[in-house]
């Protein structure tokens, strides 16, 4: 029930990552961490204090960090690389492609400050293409959790998964609404059952979708809301089951429309179940400086944009 989903205060998803690293440090002696001069931003100070020998400061040299992680993984360690999403992906794409993905190394690429909600630093740092880049790499798992608890749970879960993972999270304080729950890679989480429209959301925009669904339900529009935390592998069964019921789709994500979650779902539906669809995503533009809220409004990623997208797709529904 959507009315039961409420914010219990704010905490950044990156704090969920940092707190999970502290736990992982105690639980799994094979887990090691690397950072490219952004320890404070990634919230891994406690891990480092507890396990200085299992932390490697690489300085501002992300390409080297990815290669070292591939080597550590070769020797049986479980390396978590940490920096901003921009420097975790685009900057080091070839290193990830050859030394990690093609070589199938058990490296966890953990990326904070993804998307527009990085805010005031502006478009140089606001990567909106990372999901697309990472999901194109064969064998990669791509995860974009939605709040503190889900990020924490995902960070713990990927240590148990053998294979390369891209874990994407963000900078700002964000509503906590999921509560503690087990995290299953590749398993979509239904948040509200409905019959008029399917809404698939990932990352920060899951909360925006929750807000939108509350208003839509009040207007009598029945929404099937599903949190897709794992973009790859996509939970195809959950998507198809929902769409069979609702026959129209809205996707919501803090990413370019090209290459994002919506793109994955559109591809699935084009193959298996062609369906009218609207995309709440950035439409082929860069971001800019501003507060996270102002940016989400200006670039069409607010709850009101999800509501408009739902109304527009309902018109197209046969």
């Amino acid at each position: 029930m959507i009315s039961n989903i409420v914010s219990e205060g704010k905490k950044a998803t990156r704090n969920g990552f940092g707190d999970a690293m502290t736990e992982l440090g105690q639980q799994n002696p094979n887990v090691v961490a690397l950072c490219a001069d952004l320890v404070g931003s990634l919230k891994i100070q406690q891990f480092i204090a507890n396990h200085p020998e299992r932390f490697f400061q690489v300085g501002i040299a992300e390409a080297n960090m990815i290669g070292i992680a591939a080597g550590l993984a070769t020797a049986g360690k479980i390396p978590y690389t940490t920096t901003f999403a921009n420097f975790s992906t685009g900057r080091v794409y070839d290193q990830i492609r050859q030394s990690v993905a093609y070589s199938h190394k058990n490296v966890k690429i953990c990326a904070s400050h993804a998307g527009l909600t990085l805010g005031e630093d502006g478009a140089t740092h606001q990567i909106l293409e990372d999901i697309g880049m990472m999901k194109m790499l064969p064998g990669f798992t791509v995860i974009n959790p939605c709040d503190y608890a889900q990020t924490k749970a995902a960070t713990l879960a990927i240590a148990e998964h053998h294979g390369p993972v891209y874990l994407r999270f963000g900078r700002p304080g964000w509503p906590m609404f999921m509560g503690d729950q087990p995290f299953e890679i590749g398993k979509a989480l239904p948040l509200n059952e409905g019959s008029d429209v399917s809404i698939f959301a990932t990352g920060h925009l899951v909360w925006k979708a929750v807000e939108a669904v509350k208003e839509l339900e009040a207007e009598g529009i029945s929404c099937d809301l599903i949190n897709i935390h794992t973009i790859k592998p996509l939970d195809e069964e959950a998507v198809l089951d929902s769409v069979l019921k609702t026959k129209c789709v809205v996707t919501a994500e803090e990413h370019q429309m090209n290459g994002g979650l919506g793109d994955s779902i559109a591809q699935l539906l084009a193959r298996k179940l062609p369906t009218p669809m609207e995309f709440v995503a950035v439409k082929d533009s860069f971001g800019e400086s501003g507060t996270p809220d102002d940016l989400l409004k200006k670039y069409g990623l607010d709850s009101s944009d999800i509501i408009s997208a739902v109304k527009s797709v309902l018109q197209r529904k046969k």
Binding site: A61, N64, G67, I68, A70, A75, K77, D94, R97
Partner: protein, 280 residues
Amino acid sequence: MADINELKCVASQVRRDIVRMVSMAKSGHPGGSLGCADFLTALYFEVMDHDPAFNMNGKNEDVFFLSNGHISPLWYSVLSRSGYFKTEEMATFRKINSRLQGHPATHEGLPGVRVASGSLGQGLSVAIGVALAKRLDGDDKTIYALTGDGELQEGQIWEAAMFAAHHKVDNLIVTVDWNGQQIDGANDDVISLGDLEGKWRTFGWEVLHMNGNDMEDLLRGLREAKEKSRKGKPIVILMKTEMGAGVDFMMGTHKWHGVAPNAEQTEVALAQLEETLGDF
């Protein structure tokens, strides 16, 4: 210690393997492969403590990384002649459904290869990762890596160099194949490497030299490197080689960097290289 003549015999066969693989595939990189044939023979047949049964994690054994992956035919020959896989498999080099990809890869499960290489500049970082893991695990074996000289134009190499010195990665011995050539010509005409020894030294590395086409000097240089390891500094050996060494018409030019010999040229080349262990 192995007899120098035995090592030279292996190196001669390795050179034949390289020429025949590249010729049969009608593609590949003979120049650098021939130039480093003595080095890799010395490493696998004398210097390294390694296990051809092959464990990916390389625990309790010396581990080698080839960063300049385009000299794959050399590595495949040495791995095969060391017992990692059957020599017949060399005939599949660069052909469809082969484990012997144009550039080395783990994807098809070829024993002996621990990471893909080919896109240059990445192998040194990976080698450092394994060196750090060995340190964590109290494993006292050594990591070896080979890079090209043109490859040193990649920025990641210098990121890795800075890291290894700062973190005192002293269980690592890097060799630079200093043949002075790259695809577009001499290093000095493409992008000069400048004072190569001074560069490594100011980055905090112990710098050694050896002649990569003289088996006795190779063994001396690698022994010296081993003795100087574990003293707080990473070690680099600047190894002078001749591209194409062993085949007269391929020597001293960048033109055989990435070109296969035709049938006639193959015959001329093989006539200069004694078959010592039996062709594949």
